[in-house]
């Protein structure tokens, strides 16, 4: 099963996503190059609306903030919130999906599946937006929690299907004959074979969370998390496209597109690389 051949799409996705993550993670050291010691959000340090130049590669905005430093900050925050929400969503998805799949066909499974299906039908964006609008001063962590709670259902459904398939494997019976209980079977027999799918679940949860977070910021909600969407929202409200400062919108949009492409390539690549059918036929030979 441990094939040494890596799927090209998986590699490409990891490289793209990895680059973005590295840049975002080094924001605390990178940003001061352009924003100075006061930090990216300090107001009035530089001249307003200066066009791109050596000291400010993307120029400055109305408040004299360095746009590059702001973009880096927005990227970092978007990723942090996305990761927190994605981990929470995947965790809930794992719990629900595993329980549902392991007890497949029972009342427990029936109930959990109904909840999952309902969750998939619920229009999540308006609900998240309503929460963000009514709960004033939503902290970044609270926002991440809300986004996570709304992004588990897809992962749960995928994991359930996978567990249902794995559960009927003879090695699960073998483990039970060796004296393993439910917890040991789930943890030692099923979970290790699920790692790639957990990766898929995590990547899609993160994509969902970042998509919603940026969307919220674009309509001016969740202001405590300064995300790439916040920059876009600022750009749209200032009409920067028509005054020659389109980089305020275009750069965040490009970064986000690259991020979504990278994460989705990882998803597709993991699926191809660890597809049980392909895997089985390869290793039996």
């Amino acid at each position: 099963m441990r094939s040494t051949h890596w799927d090209g799409r998986l590699l490409a996705g990891m490289v793209i996503t990895g680059l973005i993550v590295v840049v975002a993670a080094s924001e605390p050291w990178l940003a001061p190059f352009w924003s100075g010691a006061a930090g990216p959000t300090a107001v009035g340090i530089f001249a307003s609306w200066s066009h791109p130049q050596w000291a400010h590669p993307l120029g400055t905005n109305q408040f004299g903030q360095d746009i590059l430093a702001l973009t880096l900050l927005g990227l970092r925050n978007s990723l942090v919130v996305g990761l927190q929400a994605g981990i929470l969503g995947t965790f809930i998805g794992i719990c629900v999906g595993f329980t549902s799949g392991y007890f497949g066909g029972t009342v427990v499974d029936e109930a959990l599946r109904t909840v999952t299906d309902a969750w998939l039908v619920i229009p999540s964006f308006p609900l998240i937006a309503v929460l963000a609008a009514f709960v004033r001063n939503l902290s970044v962590t609270e926002l991440a929690i809300i986004l996570g709670i709304f992004s588990w259902a897809g992962a749960a459904r995928a994991i359930r299907a996978q567990v249902l398939m794995l559960r009927s494997m003879a090695y699960v019976d073998m483990a039970r004959l060796s004296g393993a209980g439910h917890i040991a079977v789930i943890g030692q027999e099923l979970l290790p074979n699920m790692y790639p799918y957990l990766g898929v679940g995590l990547a899609s949860s993160i994509m969902g969370a970042i998509g919603s977070l940026v969307g919220l910021s674009i309509i001016g909600l969740g202001q405590n998390a300064f995300s790439l969407g916040t920059l876009i929202q600022y750009g749209l409200s200032e009409g920067v496209l028509s005054i020659g400062f389109s980089q305020i919108i275009v750069v965040p949009v490009l970064i986000l597109i690259a991020l979504f492409v990278g994460l989705n390539l990882i998803n597709v690549g993991l699926d191809v690389q660890f597809n049980p059918r392909l895997k089985g036929s390869k290793s039996r030979g």
């Binding site: 494997m169 090695y171 483990a175 004296g179």
Partner: protein, 342 residues
């Protein structure tokens, strides 16, 4: 029956399946009674074509699945009620060999796991060194070289090697009872004999065996009693030579006649003459399950499910053809008692 090692009473398992979008009931195991005596070293074969419910029966006995009705008793106690230490002891004493020697290995781990895990969980070795020693001994006992096996991943072994690792597991755990579900149907002929010989050695050492097969020859090789399963029901039970040489149920006769004969002049017979019932005719649930395939079907077979009827010599079959010989006895007395096979 308190002396029995294993006993099932009216064991049934019903599955719900979807056919054409509608749920239908499948009686995978239906009202099965069998007994394996407690004297040790006994073999009982379960013979049936694929889909007759053999694997389901094995899983029910092993406690991997719950019966819809009826009970499994191990040493007189209901398996479904085992908890805690009792359950652990049952797990330790009753083991299995399954059909597919690949699927039983978790691809994530090396093959050692199927040996090391029970040692650890059943506290069978006091030290890592002892555990290693015992694993190697057991592998040698089934003609495997430890260094060819230990530390390898399942896909690096051949099918025969993988199945012998399962035998090594039996050697290691020395269960009182092993449920073997078509253990040799997926390995080639030379290994098959070797596998069966090792199993016979274990039997001589006192291990009882419920041997499940679709192949009458392998069960003949092992000896003992046999029961024939058709659509989840026991249709005939007898010592295996009686099954082979004087089958009483039409289905058993069909199975026996389809055994390939090593005679070039004789054609291999695959089936009996056409059934007397027109194909496609639906049969009510009341009648004999074999009705549609039976060449001797009678009017009574449509109305009534034939009960077990004894024909003497420890043989009985569920067929109305026997009604006027032994008389309808309707006896459910298990025929595979320890005293008879001893």
């Amino acid at each position: 029956m308190s002396g029995a090692l294993l006993e099932t009473r009216s064991l049934s398992r019903v599955f719900w399946q979807r056919r054409l979008g509608r749920p239908v009931q499948v009686r995978a195991v239906s009202d099965v009674n069998l007994t394996l005596g407690s004297s040790g070293g006994e073999v009982l074969s379960v013979v049936g074509e694929s889909g007759s419910g053999k694997s389901t029966l094995a899983r029910l006995i092993l406690g991997l699945d719950r019966p819809s009705a009826g009970n499994v008793f191990y040493r007189g106690e209901d398996v479904a009620r085992f908890v805690g230490a009792k359950r652990r002891q049952f797990r330790r004493e009753v083991q299995a060999v399954f059909q597919d020697p690949y699927a039983i290995f978790n691809p994530f781990y090396t093959v050692d796991r199927v040996l090391a895990q029970p040692l650890r969980r059943f506290h069978l070795a006091s030290s890592l060194h002892e555990a290693q020693q015992r694993m190697e001994d057991s592998l040698r006992a089934v003609d495997l070289r430890p260094r060819d096996v230990l530390g390898r991943y399942p896909h690096q072994l051949s099918g025969g090697e993988r199945q012998r690792v399962m035998l090594a597991r039996l050697h290691l755990l020395r269960p009182q009872l092993v449920i073997a579900d078509e253990p040799v149907s997926m390995i080639d002929a030379a290994l098959r004999t070797m596998f069966l010989n090792i199993l016979l050695d274990f039997r001589d050492a006192g291990m009882s065996c419920l041997f499940i097969t679709h192949n009458l020859e392998t069960s003949y090789y092992l000896g003992g009693n046999a029961l024939v399963l058709y659509q989840g029901r026991v249709v005939e039970r007898a010592p295996i030579d009686r099954i082979l040489h004087a089958p009483k149920h039409p289905y058993t006769q069909m199975l026996v006649s389809s055994i390939p004969v090593p005679d070039p002049k004789k054609r291999w017979k695959t089936s009996l003459p056409e059934s007397a019932i027109e194909s496609g005719e639906t049969v009510g649930s009341a009648g004999c399950p074999f009705l549609v395939r039976c060449p001797y079907a009678m009017e009574v077979c449509r109305r009534q499910d034939p009960p077990m009827m004894s024909v003497g010599d420890g043989q009985e079959a569920a067929c109305f053809l026997l009604a006027d010989r032994g008389g309808v006895r309707g006896s459910m007395a298990p025929m595979c008692k320890a005293e008879e096979s001893g």
